[in-house]
C-alpha cells in the first residue's frame, strides 16, 4: 500500500536499497511524535537553543508606506542560525539520536539547511557531511565556511546542473552507500514519505505561534499568509495551522527568475507538470519526455525544479494560491525591507516580501497580512552587490 498521500501526490518512490531505512524513520517518527518526553525535549531545544518563539512583528513603516493592509512579519530570521531550517533540523537530529544514528548527511541550496544541520550535529555529537552544488558553493561561499567552521565536511557536487536538485541526488546516493549509522536530514517538505509529513510537522510551530500571536495582538485571524516556496517547508510551516481557517488566504511565492516566459525560472506551479521524482509524485519543471528541467533563480534556496506534495495538493484543491516572483522583484524587495524596516531578509524570503508589496495596497486598512521572513540576508549581501554590478569580497 502506498503511503504519505496528499490527494494524488506524495508516495514513497525510493530505491529498494533505501526502503528499510525509510521505514525505520517512519516507524521511529510515528512513535516519537506522540511521545510527550520527546516533544518536551524538542520544545526545550527550540526555545532555549534556537530562541523560539519567534516574534510576530508589526511592520509599521512598511504598512504606512504601502497604504493598505496591516503587515506583520513572522521573524524566522531571528532564529539561531538565521532561518526556519533549524526547526526541522532539531526535530530530525533528536529523532536520529533516538534511533541510535551517529552520522547526519544533508543537501543544501542556500546553505541555510546545511548550516542548521552542521549546528545540530555539533550540538548533539554527530559527524556531519553536507552536499552542495558547485553553483551554490560559489554564490553562498560564506555559508560553506560556516559549515566547515562547525565541523562538517562539505562535498561540492559537480554533476548535472550543480544546484539543489543535484545536491539532493548526491545525498540520496550517499545514503544508499551507508544506511546503518546514517540519517538523511532532508531539508524541505519533499522526498519520500515520511519526510513531507515529518518536516511539515516540525515546521508547523511557525503557524502555531503566529496564529496565537495574531489572536493576542489583533483579536482576529489574518486575511492572508504569504511565504516563499522552494521545496516548501517554511511555507508549509506558515500555512499549516491556518488551513482549517477558510477566511485566511494562503499564498506561496515561487521563484520566477528572469520571468515565467523565459527558460530561466524555477516556477513549478506556474510552469511545471505532474511527475514522479525525488521520492514523490508532485509537480516538476520538466520536458515532454520527463527529463527534469534545469531551473534558475537568483535565490539558491528556491532554485529547485519541484515542490512538496502537500503544496501540490493545496494547489489542486485551491486552498492555497501560488504566484511567481522574478529576480528583479525579489531584489527590489530585499532593498525595500532593508531600508524601510531595517531588516535584511534572505533573498528567498524577499520573494514573499515582494508579493506583500503588490497585495497590501489592494487591501483595506483593517485587513491583515502575515509575511513569513524565513531567513536573514547576511548570506546574500555579496551576491546582491554583484547583481547590482559591485564586486565586493566576502
Amino acid at each position: 500500500m502506498s503511503k504519505g498521500k496528499y490527494g494524488i501526490h506524495g508516495g514513497q518512490y525510493t530505491p529498494e536499497t533505501l526502503m528499510n531505512a525509510i521505514i525505520e524513520v517512519e516507524k521511529a517518527y510515528e512513535h516519537y511524535k506522540n511521545d510527550p518526553a520527546f516533544q518536551d525535549e524538542l520544545t526545550e531545544l527550540l526555545n532555549e537553543y534556537a530562541g523560539r518563539p519567534s516574534r510576530l512583528y508589526f511592520a509599521k513603516k512598511m504598512t504606512a508606506d504601502l497604504g493598505g493592509a496591516k503587515i506583520y512579519l513572522k521573524r524566522e530570521d531571528l532564529n539561531h542560525t538565521g532561518s526556519h531550517k533549524i526547526n526541522n533540523v532539531l526535530g530530525q537530529a533528536l529523532l536520529a539520536k533516538k534511533m541510535g544514528k551517529t552520522r547526519l548527511i544533508a543537501e543544501t541550496g542556500a546553505g541555510q539547511h546545511g548550516v542548521a544541520t552542521a549546528t545540530a550535529a555539533a550540538l548533539m555529537g554527530f559527524s556531519c557531511e553536507i552536499f552542495m552544488g558547485k553553483e551554490d558553493t560559489d554564490r553562498q561561499a560564506l555559508n560553506v565556511f560556516r559549515m566547515r567552521l562547525l565541523g562538517a565536511t562539505v562535498h561540492v557536487v559537480t554533476s548535472g546542473t550543480m544546484t539543489l536538485k543535484d545536491a539532493v541526488n548526491e545525498t540520496f546516493r550517499e545514503w544508499t552507500t551507508r544506511v546503518d549509522d546514517t540519517h538523511y536530514v532532508l531539508g524541505s517538505v519533499m522526498g519520500p514519505h515520511p519526510f513531507p509529513e515529518m518536516v511539515r510537522d516540525f515546521q508547523s510551530v511557525i503557524s502555531k505561534e503566529a496564529r496565537e500571536q495574531m489572536l493576542q495582538k489583533e483579536g482576529k485571524l489574518p486575511d492572508a499568509v504569504i511565504a516563499c516556496v522552494g521545496g516548501g517547508s517554511n511555507a508549509m510551516g506558515a500555512f499549516y495551522n491556518f488551513i482549517p481557517d477558510e477566511s485566511v488566504r494562503l499564498i506561496g511565492c515561487e521563484a520566477a527568475g528572469k520571468g515565467v516566459d523565459t527558460e530561466e525560472h524555477a516556477a513549478t506551479i506556474a510552469r511545471g507538470s505532474l511527475g514522479i521524482f525525488h521520492g514523490m509524485k508532485s509537480y516538476f519543471c520538466q520536458d515532454e519526455y520527463g527529463q527534469i528541467a534545469p531551473v534558475y533563480s537568483i535565490s539558491a534556496g528556491l532554485d529547485y525544479p519541484g515542490i512538496g506534495p502537500e503544496h501540490a495538493h493545496l494547489h489542486d484543491s485551491k486552498r492555497a494560491e501560488y504566484v511567481p516572483i522574478t529576480d528583479d522583484e525579489a531584489v527590489a524587495a530585499f532593498f525595500y525591507l532593508s531600508r524601510t524596516e531595517g531588516i535584511i531578509p534572505a533573498i528567498e524570503s524577499a520573494h514573499a516580501i515582494a508579493y506583500a508589496m503588490v497585495l497590501a495596497p489592494t487591501m483595506s486598512k483593517d485587513q491583515i497580512i502575515i509575511v513569513n521572513v524565513s531567513g536573514r540576508g547576511d548570506k546574500d549581501v555579496a551576491a546582491i552587490a554583484r547583481y547590482k554590478g559591485e564586486n565586493i569580497h566576502e
Partner: protein, 262 residues
C-alpha cells in the same frame, strides 16, 4: 498479468545455462552506435540486453553510468528515438531486451502508451530502480497487460522484505550485490548465498546478480551462486573510453565474460 501459456522470453535464457546480462545506455555515443553495440554483444554471447533510457537525474547510478546518461541526453536521445532503434534491432535479433529507466520518463510518457509501445517494438521487461514494492501496483498491471515482466530488485538491505519481494517476481530477480550506486567494485562483501537461499524458499524465478561486477574472475565466483551475472558500469566504461570504435572491444569483453560463467 502476463499470459501464462506464453513461454516467458526472459526466464528461458536461464533454462540450461548461466546467463550473461549486459547493460548499456541508449544514445551513448549515438543511437546508431547503440544498435551496433547491442547486435555485437548479442553475437558475442550475451543472453539479454538491458537498455538504459537516459534520465536527467539517475539517482541509483554511480559516476560512470551517470556520465553516460548525460552524454546520451546531450546528443538529443529521446524515448521515441529509442523505441525506433529497438524496432530496427528486433528485425535482426530475437535476444530478450529489457529497458532500465526511472519512474518519471515512464509516467510522463504515459504508462499505457509506454508499455503498449514496448510491446509493439518487442521489449520483454522493464527495470525501474525508483519504483519500490509499495508503489508498483499500477505499473505492474500495465506491464503485465502488455506481456512485459516488471523486474524485481532485491538489495543487501532488504532483509525481512526479501520473501515478500521474491514471492511475486517474474522474468528474473535482480539481486543488487552491494550497498550504494552502480559502479565497478574490487570486492563484493554481501552474503549473496544467504539472500539467494532466502529467495529460493519462496520463488523459482532465476536470480541474476549485478552492481560492481567487472572481471571474469568475479563473474566466475558469482555464477557459482546465481543464475546469471549482470554487468553495466564496466561495459559503459569501455564505451566511454573507445566511443564509436568500441564494438570489437565490447565483443571481446562479452565473449570472455560469458566464457567465465560456470
Amino acid at each position: 498479468m502476463s499470459n501464462p501459456n506464453k513461454v516467458n522470453q526472459i526466464s528461458k535464457i536461464f533454462a540450461d545455462q548461466k546467463a550473461f546480462i549486459a547493460f548499456l545506455t541508449a544514445g551513448d555515443p549515438s543511437l546508431d552506435k547503440t544498435e551496433e553495440f547491442i547486435l555485437a554483444m548479442a553475437d558475442a554471447g550475451a543472453d539479454l540486453i538491458e537498455i538504459g533510457i537516459p534520465f536527467s537525474d539517475p539517482i541509483a547510478e554511480g559516476p560512470v553510468i551517470e556520465a553516460a546518461n548525460e552524454r546520451a541526453l546531450q546528443v538529443g536521445t529521446t524515448t521515441d528515438k529509442i523505441f525506433a532503434m529497438v524496432r530496427r534491432i528486433r528485425a535482426k535479433t530475437a535476444i530478450p531486451l529489457v529497458f532500465l529507466t526511472y519512474m518519471n520518463p515512464i509516467f510522463v510518457y504515459g504508462g499505457e502508451r509506454f508499455f503498449a509501445t514496448c510491446e509493439e517494438v518487442g521489449i520483454n521487461g522493464v527495470i525501474i530502480p525508483d519504483l519500490p514494492f509499495e508503489e508498483k501496483g499500477e505499473i505492474r498491471e500495465l506491464a503485465g497487460s502488455h506481456g512485459l515482466d516488471l523486474i524485481t530488485l532485491i538489495a543487501p538491505t532488504s532483509q525481512d522484505r526479501i520473501q515478500m519481494l521474491a514471492r511475486d517476481a517474474t522474468g528474473f530477480i535482480y539481486l543488487v550485490s552491494s550497498l550504494g550506486v552502480t559502479g565497478v567494485r574490487s570486492e563484493i562483501k554481501t552474503d549473496l548465498a544467504a539472500i539467494i537461499a532466502d529467495i529460493r524458499q519462496v520463488s523459482k524465478t532465476p536470480v541474476a546478480v549485478g552492481f560492481g561486477i567487472a572481471t571474469p574472475e568475479q563473474a566466475t565466483t558469482i555464477s557459482k551462486l546465481a543464475d546469471g551475472v549482470i554487468v553495466g558500469s564496466a561495459i559503459v566504461r569501455i564505451i566511454a573510453e573507445h566511443g564509436p570504435a568500441a564494438t570489437p572491444i565490447l565483443s571481446d569483453y562479452v565473449r570472455r565474460m560469458k566464457a567465465a560463467l560456470v
